[in-house]
Amino acid sequence: MPEPSQAPAISVRNLTVGFGEKNVLDGLSLDVHRGEVLGLVGASGGGKSVLLRTIIGLIPPREGRIAIMGAETDYGDTAAMQDIGRHWGILFQQGALFSSLTIQQNVQFPMRENLEISQTLLDELATAKLEMVGLSPDDGNKFPSELSGGMTKRAALARALALDPEIVFLDEPTSGLDPISASDFDELISTLQQTLGLTVFMVTHDLDSLNTVCDRVAALSDGKIVEVGPIEQLVGSQHPWVRSYFHNARARTRATETH
């Protein structure tokens, strides 16, 4: 449980983001506590990724404030944003590995840019990160195009963890993985989260991930967070969209399997 004296890892207040006439997020507020795994669910095209991309500064907000580790973000101030950026690592949906660098070089890239350390240590640390996410040192010499979907996600996670961030953003980490790889990946996130004391902000559709990894789940509907709390609370929610999300045919099948 977070200590009350500490500011939340991420604090979003009255955030409005839109494109053209339409507001995708409309006065959204959300807190992510330190050391928790927060899952964000919402309809496809409902603004989950927009929220994630706004928090990490890729989309400018129209209104509202975002604070990371208690520090207000100011997206106009590049230097300040670089400092804040060292607090987080991001796992993009498609991995977003640099295609002309090997996996080893991909993982080394953030360290090389931000830290003054020798090449030997860089190599050792990159291998360490790769082994921590369950890749072998040999995989480090491959190029991103030679990796399978699951390995790409792992390599991208290793790069996201390169600077030992406090917060990790995961954009649909298990999408496109088979159930075995997906549950392995969930387990990996869980282990790393505990060992490294990470705060995880996860956009996901995977009900299994929500059940096994997430401490709290936030439901995004109509540009607002309509319900946030432990998964049981969301399953029992009376909000019509949340109800249909957790009580549709597929969710029910899952529930009967697990009970």
């Binding site: 002309s100 195009s145 030679e146």
Partner: protein
């Protein structure tokens, strides 16, 4: 924030680590881990006290692990004490990594490497040519299919590409050939005037532009403008598996993607060559008028004497062949793109360089051919 330290503690075999062991302190940490405090070899046990460590991340944990392993290499038994509970998991995880010794690439003979590179490049030339021939063959086969069943030509796509590589290229092609015609005329007048032969500038501009320069400049521009676009388009389709998707639907990527592009190029290039040659003659005429003082009616009269339809034919006959070479090279290079952005760039460069080279070689072959048949 205080600096991280690793110092000899109270007991002779004890070390005390303290301060923040994080990436922010990477420089001093790396120095710390490199200079190990020496331990009396009589004492087998080295105790490292971590209770003073305020922060620890992967970098710090790994350097600590490195210290432990180096003591182990010295036949000592290092143990960690006073490990704060929150660091225990990380230290255990780090304990297992980097266990396998790194595989070192054996040093290779420089001469052998150099010879190998020459060999590979030579063999590469052969495969390059094979790819080019394979693409020409595929285009030929696909064209054969269209001849048998004319309706199987992708007309919409062909017209679209004709618009892109033909119509949209007109302004820049006309502008550049206009300038080149003017420059040739200016140079001719300047040098021919020395021996009073400036009237022959018209012959030079006319023959040079119609036979050689017109088609060559236009082909080179089209290779740079449209050939590169073809390679990049097909290459990114290849990267995103769109070409594989087409294949699995039982559709031939050659007839859907390549043939319309090549046909459009083969139709567009003679037209562009014609327009370009006219623009070059126009530019030459203007320069002759304003710079050389030759009035337009004299220029046209002399041009009529100097050039014949044969010169024009020689130029324009070459155009479709140039287009075929550019199209085939551009498409075959596009299909050779692999997964990375770098490979897309490399293949696009290769495509332009190779098609310009082949265009010039082909022009030389045509020159020999036309000379031998007396055209």
């Amino acid at each position: 924030m205080s600096d991280p330290t690793l110092t000899r503690g109270e007991s002779p075999a004890g070390l005390v680590a303290s301060g923040p062991w994080t990436a922010a302190q990477s420089v001093s940490l790396e120095r710390l881990a490199a200079t190990l405090p020496s331990i009396d070899a009589q004492k087998k046990n080295v105790v490292i006290d971590l209770s003073g460590v305020e922060q620890l991340d992967t970098l710090g944990a790994w350097l600590l692990e490195r210290v432990i392993r180096r003591y182990q290499l010295q036949d000592l038994k290092p143990t960690l004490v006073g490990v704060p509970e929150r660091f225990r998991g990380l230290l255990e995880k780090i304990h297992d990594v980097n266990r396998r010794p790194p595989v070192l690439q054996p040093e290779r003979n420089r001469l052998a490497v150099w010879l190998e590179r020459i060999g590979r490049t030579t063999a590469g030339l052969y495969t390059d040519f094979a790819y080019f021939l394979a693409m020409l063959g595929a285009i030929g086969a696909s064209l054969g299919g269209v001849v048998l069943r004319p309706r199987s030509l992708r007309a919409t796509s062909t017209v679209y590409h004709l618009y892109r590589v033909g119509w949209q290229a007109v302004p820049i092609v006309v502008l550049i050939t206009f300038l080149i015609g003017g420059i040739i005329a200016q140079q001719g007048i300047f040098h021919f005037r020395k021996f009073g032969a400036d009237a022959y500038v018209v012959d030079m501009v006319g023959i040079l532009v119609l036979r050689e320069i017109g088609v060559l400049i236009v082909s080179i521009m089209v290779a740079g403008r449209s050939g590169s676009a073809y390679t990049a388009e097909l290459g990114s389709m290849k990267m995103r598996e769109e070409i594989d998707a087409l294949r699995t639907m039982g559709r031939d990527p050659i007839s859907i993607l390549v043939l319309p592009r090549v046909v459009a190029l083969v139709c567009a290039l003679p037209i562009l060559t014609f327009l370009g040659s006219m623009a070059a003659l126009y530019g030459g005429g203007l320069v002759a008028w304003f710079y050389g003082g030759m009035s337009p009616d004299i220029f046209i009269a002399r041009l009529r004497e100097a050039v014949s339809v044969t010169h024009f034919e020689v130029g324009i006959i070459k155009a479709p062949f140039m287009a075929l070479v550019i199209g085939a090279v551009a498409c075959s290079e596009g299909f050779r793109v692999k997964g990375s952005a770098e490979s897309l760039g490399l293949q696009t460069t290769t495509s332009v360089v190779k098609s310009i080279f082949l265009v010039i070689v082909l022009d030389g072959l045509f020159a020999i051919f036309f000379a031998s048949i007396g055209m």
